[in-house]
Subunit: 517 residues, 2 copies
Amino acid sequence: MQRAAALVRRGCCPRTLGPWGRSQSSAAAEASAVLKVRPERSRRERILTLESMNPQVKAVEYAVRGPIVLKAGEIELELQRGIKKPFTEVIRANIGDAQAMGQQPITFLRQVMALCTYPNLLDSPSFPEDAKKRARRILQACGGNSLGSYSASQGVNCIREDVAAYITRRDGGVPADPDNIYLTTGASDGISTILKILVSGGGKSRTGVMIPIPQYPLYSAVISELDAIQVNYYLDEDNCWALNVNELRRAVQQAKEHCNPKVLCIINPGNPTGQVQSRKCIEDVIHFAWEEKLFLLADEVYQDNVYSSDCKFHSFKKVLYEMGPEYSSNVELASFHSTSKGYMGECGYRGGYMEVINLHPEIKGQLVKLLSVRLCPPVSGQAAMDIVVNPPVPGEESFEQFSREKESVLGNLAKKAKLTEDMFNQVPGIHCNPLMGAMYAFPRIFIPVKAMEAAQAHKMAPDMFYCMKLLEETGICVVPGSGFGQREGTYHFRMTILPPVEKLKTVLQKDTSFFVP
Amino acid sequence: MQRAAALVRRGCCPRTLGPWGRSQSSAAAEASAVLKVRPERSRRERILTLESMNPQVKAVEYAVRGPIVLKAGEIELELQRGIKKPFTEVIRANIGDAQAMGQQPITFLRQVMALCTYPNLLDSPSFPEDAKKRARRILQACGGNSLGSYSASQGVNCIREDVAAYITRRDGGVPADPDNIYLTTGASDGISTILKILVSGGGKSRTGVMIPIPQYPLYSAVISELDAIQVNYYLDEDNCWALNVNELRRAVQQAKEHCNPKVLCIINPGNPTGQVQSRKCIEDVIHFAWEEKLFLLADEVYQDNVYSSDCKFHSFKKVLYEMGPEYSSNVELASFHSTSKGYMGECGYRGGYMEVINLHPEIKGQLVKLLSVRLCPPVSGQAAMDIVVNPPVPGEESFEQFSREKESVLGNLAKKAKLTEDMFNQVPGIHCNPLMGAMYAFPRIFIPVKAMEAAQAHKMAPDMFYCMKLLEETGICVVPGSGFGQREGTYHFRMTILPPVEKLKTVLQKDTSFFVP
């Protein structure tokens, strides 16, 4: 009381004093009950407001964690507080977060990580020798033999060597140079770093970045942050979301009227589409990039997630080399991989790498300089990346268990991809293309007129309205297609296939019965 | 041979083909020896060059990992190859990387991290119960009880609660709200994120960011990346690098002629200066920020690194609250901390947090949106941050060992701070201010005329020349003052005090005997 009065004497409102040990509101109530204060004096105009902030940041959108996900959080809190709902839990099918959905970590990876974290365990008989060998190799390459030291900005040397060896094996012998490997804080970090270097120019010579529609919204977000020009090319939904080079041509021609298209982004296997590109398609894209002088960004984080028996992952790097030196010594390419997807699903470690091809040596210097400002990617994430590219091999102690775990995860995902596709396609009003790869379904929904009208009445986009209703009535959290981009007048949502099979069946049943056109 | 010839027939140079299994140069030599090829056809103009790249990124400088450090790497390779030098190892005193310099991790932190990484260890009798308790608490707050899941964009809830409780304890009861805590990928990430949101406007209304000179070059680098205006204020070297508010006034007045000064950055304890600000100084700065409507950024990553008995760390947050509600409810402040410094020295985990005060609720929404694009900070780094703010307490099993280890690290650093200052000041031509805190000495060097001339002949800045010579002749790697900024005509270098005492003595002896003016 005394304190509040003293403050008021000084002409200040105690409302936001945050009194030590007392609730702010009680102090405020106390003060204003006794003395008439002038609260308007206490709050001046803020410096940082929606009006004064960076307009590029304001323009950023990221639906994977947007309003639907905030609403999901609110509903979870309500459930915790005992508020009755037509469901007992929220199922977060909005994000490719395997372990959050119950997928168990690969034992070998975690063993190596634990050994690196607490090297006393290297003496423990309960850890296999091959895990200890990996851990020793990593630690020897770290400053002070510790994950707690900064690494080189480009990443730990021996891990970059292991990444290069992995790429060489993956691509049937096409060589990879550790000097071209940059370890990153997840793939997102690599993609935004290389885009940051690429963007330049003003007005009509501002850099245009071609992205697929639908896209993974990291791309549109970074383009907005960098004030670059987003150039959309549409994937062909009627043709299993295939990429058609004629559409690339259309997009680039049109873009040239108002910007300088300089970058072409490809997501393969596709997120959110689940499409796996054919070798022919990749060749066409590379030829197009070569013709149009475009820098290629190949987002290949789902390279281990291919389910259809009639398709196969081809890396852009390999196809580029197979097309001969006119291409392989000219086309500038950056490709990305991550610890977060595949069968490891180690999203939390934020590990990743980027391989660059034909990058100008001076630009490599610039890239290292830029990376060095943030010092280095998390060394634990780098170590996780090492295990992703350097898992147990036949003859090693852990090989059998590792293979069993790996096949279980991938086998399950393949099963769930088929289940999801089949169940969606049984419902009139939903059409779902084959889930050839990645971790998502992106079904098209034909929204009935009544629902369209209801959406309009709520001032919501029809697909947002659909997803919000789905969440409120079933507890299933998915992301509206508008967050990824879709042809005007079409509506979709993205749902992960990560929940365990039984739960996924429930989700799909709710989801499809919810949808009565 | 056949392959090379075939390529030449197609009019391509095989030089960069990267032939499967053969060295590139041997293939090139072979081909060009036999047939006269036209190498100019194989290499088209690259898309991404120094000329076409983002000019803001090109302008970035980051000396802590600049040319001196590249040279140090070259010398290390030469030593490995057996090339004789006047020394046997390179001592990297360029960067505050404690564990790389032999500092051992705090056992308790690594035990908790290992338990979180490989939860099977929770059944092991060789881990203490208090570590298990911490690990269980963290895991229960993670999706799927795993470090491998993404966290919320703002960070794991219970870790933000622990950070808030730590701040409240640190600040003698001034309350901290977990909603105002954002976990980050090291402090660098927090600083660049908040600056990214703050920067706006063009021409004379472009955002000006006030930074101390000398500064930690993250600031100048991010300002350059964001194309903001760097506004220098000079610390007072003659007064132990104190911050003088009159100098802030001068700087802001001058800046207003060509930009819109909106942000004031403070580094306390100072990097590279080692200055610890008095409470009075902080109050003056806050009053100045309030008067001039500046958003305050308080870089407080060295808050545990205070060595002089006659000074003490005061947080900006605490002083702000003690100044009363006119300030505490108006001044917008973001303060930063990290796992990398203090006594933990866990740089590799890239953990950190930022606390924001008086941030507009709409801006908080924008901040979460921006952070969500990168999904989340590394969850292992978040867990490490939890142990930094939530270490063992009296009565807990690990308390004694933890306290011993903590005091050993901090006691050693205090000893080394004194040793460094004393030894530098014995040398004519070197003047070193007291190392009150942080991890660096930033001595002034009075470079003799002959050395100045030699530097000019080598087209190098005199301090760069000095550091290069020091490296080449003694193996000691330090960073020239120009990388941090210094008053024109004065020269300095930054050296960490992290090497073990005996090694540091050798370093200082070499360093001071090297300097014969």
